[in-house]
Amino acid sequence: MLQVVCIKQVADTETRVKTGADGKTLDPNGVTWIMNPYDEFALEQALRVKEAAGAGEVVALSMGGAGVQTTLRNALAIGADRAIHLRLDGPQPDSLQVARALAAEIAPLNASIVWLGKQAVDDDQAQVGPMLAELIGAPCVTVVAKFELAGEKAMVEREIEGGREVVEVTLPAVFTADKGLNEPRYASLKGIMAAKKKPLEEKPAVPGDPNLEILSMQLPPPRAAGRIVGSGVEAVPELVRILREEAKVI
């Protein structure tokens, strides 16, 4: 069984965000790049499916500039069998462009499962998975928190407001992984050595025309300086008064 895991390289969540010279995008100076944390859950689940089946192939797929290969090597070190880098330099494409470029690569592979994270932690759009599924004509379950496979059927649970939906899906299908799906493993030293010999293929990405344009990026106005009402139990009456009379929230 072939599984594809789509992986995005993102700025570490601890990054201090500064607007770049264009006034629209992140200033990349001093940014540490990591594998999108949700994609770690996706990759882990693909490896578990392969291990349970005792056979199969896990392909890590990423789009972006040359630096993306560091993250793909990490995916190989964690356990992916091979990697494909869709090379795209320049500004970040929008979600539909990403989905189109990934779909063009994935469609001919005849994968049983395509995995993604539920969203990328840089733009938080949560769109590429379901868009990609539409483009390749596959069913899709987003925000997957539990996954069980029996033959060609997957029983999955997805987080919704106040509970979880249980969904039955016939493969081939697309899934986007939530935190809680599993405990991702780290790359071992042996894995890191092995990764150096695993194939990593570079091809040009074909994202098509843009659909959105970023007009500006703003740093949010700092919240008005907070007020420490006091310390300890003595401050409670004043806090209650403020919440009732000034903030009018209780």
Binding site: E134, E159, L212
Partner: protein
């Protein structure tokens, strides 16, 4: 040119996020396009005429017995059919679990861009501009649309629903084709959330506890205060990862994004990933024994103190207020 709004129902009941999205569409309509048309996928009419009170001029019902449950492929077919027929200037969705799942599918079918989880919308020169948080809320981006229709999903509880008017909407049936039997993904059930607990994304008041509570056995302090305030319990990731609370309670970048009227953070340090999930709350209160904790940088009001002393006193004071008005 109209504005189309996805009307969300669950178990045959309209959800309040629908009122918020319709109200925003009505506010944008003079500059962007009218009428405001709702599209609802449901097994039967959940009372769509009532949506006139929130600015809908017309609501289309795409009925299918399979829509008693969430049916992503079917809902997509319904919304795409409405969009192809109406050629709206914009399509709005609530950024709910269903909306965030559905909107990208519709966008891909229509071949247009989508701005997800927006916190502000504006019509500029007759075009939609959408503002949304990026980088865990450390920045916002304003997005323009290069294709029509413009599509956006709206973060729950950020856009105020209008005070309902006396108007009613015309309800018409939507033509669309969908074969539920041929669908390869089917919702077969729901795991019940905790007995009737209001979801965090819908709560007006959230009281969240962090590692400062020291152990799961002390979450009764959080629960008691939440009950007194008529709110719901949330948690930091540290607490969820330690197994003290279920993942559904987690607020933050890898948990839920919430925008309640009042957010009380107790024994939570205020790591950037936690702030990502709650900094759009209207009023933030922090209780932490460390006066230097980053949570105080975003809190409107704070008490520096030991949660084990301050929280019971606060709960008692709120209860007293409730009793005496």
């Amino acid at each position: 040119m109209s504005i189309l709004v996805f009307v969300e129902q669950r178990d045959g009941k309209l959800r309040s996020v629908t009122h918020e999205a319709l109200s925003e569409a009505a506010r944008l309509a003079p500059a962007l396009g009218s009428p405001v048309v709702g599209i609802c996928a449901a097994a039967a009419d959940p009372g769509l005429a009532s949506l006139g009170a929130y600015g809908a001029n017309e609501v289309r019902l795409a009925a299918n017995a399979a829509f008693a449950r969430h049916d992503a492929a079917g809902y997509t077919a319904a919304v795409v059919a409405a969009a192809q027929e109406l050629k709206p200037a914009a399509i709005l969705f609530p950024a709910s679990a269903i909306g965030r799942d559905l909107a990208p599918r519709v966008a891909a079918r229509l071949g247009v861009g989508l701005a997800a989880d927006c916190t502000a919308l504006a019509a500029v020169g007759g075009k939609l501009h959408a503002t949304r948080p990026v980088y865990a809320g450390k920045a916002t981006q304003t997005i323009g649309f290069l294709k029509s229709p413009a599509m956006a999903s709206l973060r729950p509880k950020v856009f105020a629903a209008m005070s309902p008017t006396g108007a009613t909407a015309t309800v018409v049936s939507q033509n669309f084709s969908y074969d539920a039997a041929a669908s390869r993904a089917r919702v077969t059930g729901l795991t019940a959330g905790e007995g009737g607990k209001l979801d965090l994304t819908e709560a007006e008041v959230i009281v969240s506890g962090g590692r400062g509570l020291k152990g799961p056995e002390h979450f009764n302090l959080i629960e008691d205060l939440a009950a007194a305030l008529g709110g719901t319990v949330g948690a930091s990731r540290a607490v969820v990862d330690a197994g003290w609370r279920p993942h559904g309670d987690q607020v933050g970048q890898t948990g839920k994004t919430v925008s309640p009227k009042l957010y009380v953070a107790i024994g939570i340090s205020g790591a950037i990933q936690h702030l990502a999930g709650m900094s759009s709350s209207r009023c933030i209160v922090a209780i932490n024994k460390d006066g230097e904790a980053p949570i105080f940088k975003v809190a409107d009001f704070g008490i520096v103190g030991d949660a084990f002393e301050v929280v019971p006193a606060l709960t008692a004071a709120v209860k007293k207020l409730n009793a005496h008005g």
